[in-house]
């Protein structure tokens, strides 16, 4: 794992693309605020939930621009041990993790594939936004992670999802998906902070070729969605090789178009050049989110339309 003293050297390659780079580095030493999504499928009256949490000393404040999201004080409160969690009224998650589903705009009646779904923060968010009336196929290639996803679907009371265990790259054709979400496995650089327990996957498993996996997943997602349909590609990393270059690859292989999108958090256009290599100019319509500007995990989101 990366030590905070090693961060400046590790992230130096992004000095030109991360705005206020010194601020970004300083921010890595601060803990992130805690958020949860209130699950209205099970808690039609949010007041019951908020009052219950308040009795335990939790202050929860609605987040402007993010319906159903609340910011929690104190930020180290163990939400996972509460009755409200156990009964499926809340799903703790970082705020930026809500962005891919905001881009996806799920609606009742749509067939939606969540290709890398476990443990289900976004699957359950899709279900909630579509009022439990979209037809969601929640897929993940790992059985242990799928088990956690199934537990979360049950905990949140979701009835509009089925689960499958395919490698996304070979997910079978045949379902006329209106939308596909690819929340891809990535190096997780956007999660990095001091004391964070997770790992920088990219470093730990130096031999896995993440960009190759990501390209395979994105191309398959595109081929699975119907003509005119939407694919959202997201990661929680800064690395252009896992972000813009993956989307660039799709734009060169298929008839796809980037759709501009508005988000309730500050963001920057995707890069159109990396390490001297020019990329498709439309990539500026993708969005980059940085921790020091959003107080949340760093994210990349691309909304893509299938033209043909």
């Amino acid at each position: 794992m990366l030590k905070v003293t090693e961060a400046p050297a590790y992230f130096a390659r992004y000095r030109e693309i991360i705005p206020d780079f010194e601020k970004f580095l300083a921010h890595l030493r601060e803990p992130l605020p805690l958020y949860f999504r209130l699950n209205e499928l099970k808690a039609p009256d949010p007041e019951v939930v908020l009052a219950g949490l308040a009795r335990q000393g939790v202050k929860a404040e609605a987040v402007p621009g993010f319906p159903h999201f609340y910011r929690v004080e104190p930020r180290d409160f163990p939400l996972g041990n509460t009755e409200e969690y156990y009964l499926g009224y809340i799903y703790p998650m970082t705020l930026s993790s809500a962005l891919p589903v905001i881009a996806l705009e799920p609606k009742p009646g749509e067939y939606i594939l969540d290709m890398c779904a476990a443990p289900g923060s976004k699957t359950t968010q899709i279900a909630q936004v579509a009022e439990d009336k979209a037809v969601i196929v929640a897929n993940d290639r790992r059985l242990d992670r799928l088990t956690a996803l199934v537990a979360n679907l049950k905990r949140l009371g979701v009835a509009c999802a089925l689960t499958t265990l395919y490698r996304g790259e070979v997910f079978p054709f045949g379902v006329p998906f209106d939308k596909v979400l690819v929340d891809a496995p990535c190096s997780g650089e956007g999660r990095y902070r001091e004391g964070y327990e997770g790992e920088l996957l990219y470093q730990k498993e130096g031999h896995t070729n993440l960009p190759a996996i990501q390209k395979g997943l994105l191309v398959r997602a595109f081929d699975l969605v119907k003509v005119g349909g939407i694919v959202v590609y997201s990661t929680c990393t800064f690395n252009p090789e896992e972000n813009e270059m993956v989307v660039d690859y799709l734009l060169r292989k298929r008839q796809a178009e980037i759709v501009p999108c508005t988000y309730p958090l500050p963001h920057h256009p995707g890069v159109t050049e990396w390490e001297g290599r020019p990329l498709h100019p439309d990539l500026q319509k993708t969005a980059r989110f940085y921790p020091h500007e959003t107080q949340a995990v760093g994210f990349f989101v691309a909304k893509i339309k299938r033209l043909f």
Binding site: K133, A148, A151, R155, A159, C160, L162, G174, P176
Partner: protein, 154 residues
């Protein structure tokens, strides 16, 4: 918390139940708890062995049936010998719509029920499955019979 059920690698697609069977299950919910059948009109009722699952009715089910699935929908009701029994999972989701056979417990009563699994209990209520509620929150399924309250809470 959250005991995890093992999922089978070779799970089969659950079958869509007949209209009669659907009518039987939904009538049980309506008669026992006063939850109208229309509550579930957007959902299919599927079945595996003794379990009934609720799953959103898609425009067309056939393409989905070609997928190798692990789970489909929400566990809704079980057949226990001759009886139908609502699951706590489903009651937690739909129980707030009930108009009868809801048992409002105090936090200490709920605590005791969860620890001891059965309590001596007297209530003005028909025997059978009940919805256990506490401070506005639905916890799940209990059975009231012969002066006892039995917990089926997860």
């Amino acid at each position: 918390m959250g005991r995890r059920k093992k999922i089978h690698k070779e799970a089969k697609w659950p079958r869509v139940v007949s209209l009669e069977e659907r009518e039987e299950v939904l009538s049980f919910w309506e008669e026992r708890f006063g939850i109208p059948k229309e509550t579930f009109q957007d959902y299919l009722l599927l079945s595996t062995a003794k379990n009934y699952w609720l799953f959103i009715a898609p425009p067309d089910l056939r393409p989905l049936q070609n997928l190798k699935v692990q789970t489909v929908g929400l566990l809704f009701t079980r057949r226990v010998s001759r009886w139908l029994k609502p699951t706590s999972t489903a009651l937690q989701r739909f129980g707030h719509l009930a108009t009868k056979n809801v048992l409002e417990l105090s936090p200490s009563e709920l605590d005791r029920l969860r620890r001891e699994k059965r309590l001596p209990f007297e209530a003005e209520m028909e025997e059978g499955y009940v919805i256990i509620k506490c401070e506005g929150k639905v916890w799940g399924c209990g059975l009231y019979a012969q002066g006892k309250l039995i917990s089926f809470l997860p």
